[in-house]
């Protein structure tokens, strides 16, 4: 971790529960500026809950969340995006009966006005959205909806992007295209925290990774280390034990 002294975002001893069920049992995550970090894990491991708690859609039971040195553990959800953290949620959650462009404009709601340059940047990243900007978002294909969800999150010019399962339900060729764009986004200076079930694709993209299992961190390291780790190969990459 050569960027260690450049920590931009940090979660310390986070605990979250739904009623009496503990979903996150004390996890700590660090993300340096400019990094792509991924959180891997099976269904129900707590990946989405972690992101939702960072965005403050969920209250943590314990722990702290720090962004650029500021404690955002109790910041209301609607203020998170203007601090520089933008979230493309699980299931895309686009506004289906609004047009594509209206969705994007809402992405910049935290700004005083919609920046034409940012809008063009998003249209450059996802030319399909430009072609369909007058169309109702609900009529887009799954891949296009995912592009819209990411594009909408970028409209606030975030410093850190939270991406929840961008590959979910998409054909492999689309997954490839979306991950390529995520890389492009990261190169433009946006720090990315990516949650994925598609471990292979995620590890290829990310600098570092954390592995979650039923609410606990079981493994962390650089993507290279994890790709080589036998445990990861067995559990997430589908390789058989020799």
């Amino acid at each position: 971790m050569n960027k260690k002294n450049n920590i931009m975002f940090e979660v310390k001893d986070l605990e979250v529960s739904y009623g009496s069920i503990k979903a996150i049992k004390g996890i700590s995550i660090q993300v340096a500026k400019g990094e792509i970090v991924t959180i891997l894990g099976a269904n129900g491991a707590g990946k989405t809950t972690t992101l939702r708690t960072i965005s403050r859609l969920h209250d943590p039971n314990a722990g702290t969340i720090l962004f650029k040195g500021e404690d955002i553990t109790t910041t209301p959800a609607h203020k998170i995006v203007s601090m520089g953290i933008s979230h493309s949620p699980e299931g895309r959650r686009i506004f289906g009966i609004l047009t594509v462009e209206e969705n994007l404009i809402l992405g910049s709601y935290s700004q005083k006005s919609t920046d034409k340059k940012t809008l063009n940047w998003v249209y450059d990243l996802f030319p399909r959205l430009a072609e369909r900007k007058r169309q109702l978002a609900g009529t887009l294909s799954g891949g296009e909806q995912q592009m819209l969800a990411i594009g909408r999150a970028l409209m606030s010019r975030p410093e850190m992007l939270l991406l929840d399962e961008p590959s979910l339900g998409l054909a492999p060729i689309l997954v490839k295209a979306i991950f390529k764009t995520v890389k492009e986004i990261a190169h433009s200076g946006v720090t990315v925290l990516l949650v994925e079930q598609n471990a292979k694709a995620a590890l290829k993209l990310a600098d570092r990774a954390y592995v979650l299992e039923v609410g606990k961190l079981v493994l962390s390291g650089t993507s290279k280390e994890l790709l080589a780790s036998e445990k990861i190969q067995e559990a997430y990459l589908g390789k058989k034990r020799k």
Binding site: S55, L57, H78, R93, I97, G138, T139, L140
Partner: protein
């Protein structure tokens, strides 16, 4: 043929009032998926507040534009504040409770407001003075149109056009539409959902207050429990138009007003309720989502 046009004029007048009140139901439903049963009673209360404002501060002024504007402004502010309080006290604490709890709370709030009106202004019918607005009536080919009817129709149409512009073309309007679709996703955009809900109550109850004052100025007689009757009609109008749909509430209100006027003109006003609810059932059978209810299939 005279009766046709006469009832059309009368129907458009009462339809405008239904539409204004229906907007309050439909906007709150759109955002919170809650039927605000206390809305009709705030409409009734606005008529009483308006009358008191007139009696206390403007006693004796007649045919004065300033007086009328003062009544609308003061009543609008007071009723909008009552709407904010209603949401804070009766609905916000139950935001995450089961739907039925909120419905019961709404019905309770309705009774509290209704009885509050009775305690403050008494159980007897009160009357708006006849001369707040000019009593001019025009006879156009046998159809009588009064000054107040023109005012109601024109003001209502202007307000509704303004509302559609606000919802469709402004940034805050887009935030309102987004919030009605998905609260959490809206929060991620930086939208303060609580503030949007407060704003919806302010707009909705303000429109209801305008409707309530029109009821007082047009029919003159006002009753502490009239909110139930007007509220029910407006609620039906909102459902006919497609609950949650803003243009739908406007169209539903107008259609219902005209329908009711024709029943009164051609059949009998005592049958108006029966026919209205038959119409409601017929529309719900044919189009359960109302005339302008959502048609877009969303891919998930």
């Amino acid at each position: 043929m005279d009766i046709f046009f006469q009832q059309l004029v009368n129907g458009l007048t009462i339809g405008s009032i239904f539409a204004l009140v229906a907007l309050g139901y439909t906007m709150v439903y759109g955002i919170m998926k809650l039927i605000n049963f206390a809305h009709g009673d705030l409409v009734a209360m606005s008529a009483f507040v308006g009358l008191s404002v007139y009696d206390q501060f403007l006693g004796g002024t007649t045919n004065s534009l300033v007086a009328v504007l003062t009544i609308f402004a003061a009543t609008g502010v007071i009723i909008a504040m009552a709407g904010i309080i209603l949401e804070r006290v009766a609905y916000r604490p139950l935001r995450n409770a089961p739907r039925l709890s909120a419905v019961v709370s709404a019905l309770g709030a309705s009774l509290v407001i209704q009885n509050g009106i009775m305690l403050i202004w008494g159980p007897r019918m009160r009357f708006f003075p006849a001369d707040i607005l000019p009593a001019t009536t025009w006879n156009i080919g046998g159809v009588y149109i009064s000054f107040i009817q023109v005012v109601i129709l024109v003001v209502s149409l202007l307000i509704m056009a303004g509302l559609i512009f606000f919802i469709d073309k402004t940034r805050v309007g887009a935030a309102i539409r987004a919030t009605s679709i998905d609260h959490d996703a809206s929060r991620l955009m930086g939208i303060d959902v609580n503030r949007i809900i407060t704003l919806i109550f302010v707009i909705g109850t303000f429109l209801g207050a305008v409707g309530g004052l029109f009821i007082g100025l047009y029919y003159r007689g006002i009753n502490f429990n009239m909110g139930w009757n007007y509220g029910l009609y407006a609620f039906v109008a909102a459902i006919i138009g497609g609950i949650g749909n803003i243009p739908g509430a406007m169209v539903g209100g107008m259609l219902l007003g005209i329908f009711k006027a024709f029943i009164a003109g051609y059949v009998s006003s005592t049958w108006a309720d029966a026919f209205t609810f038959t119409l409601l059932i017929a529309i719900l059978v044919v189009r359960p989502t109302g005339i302008m209810g959502e048609r877009v299939a969303e891919k998930v």
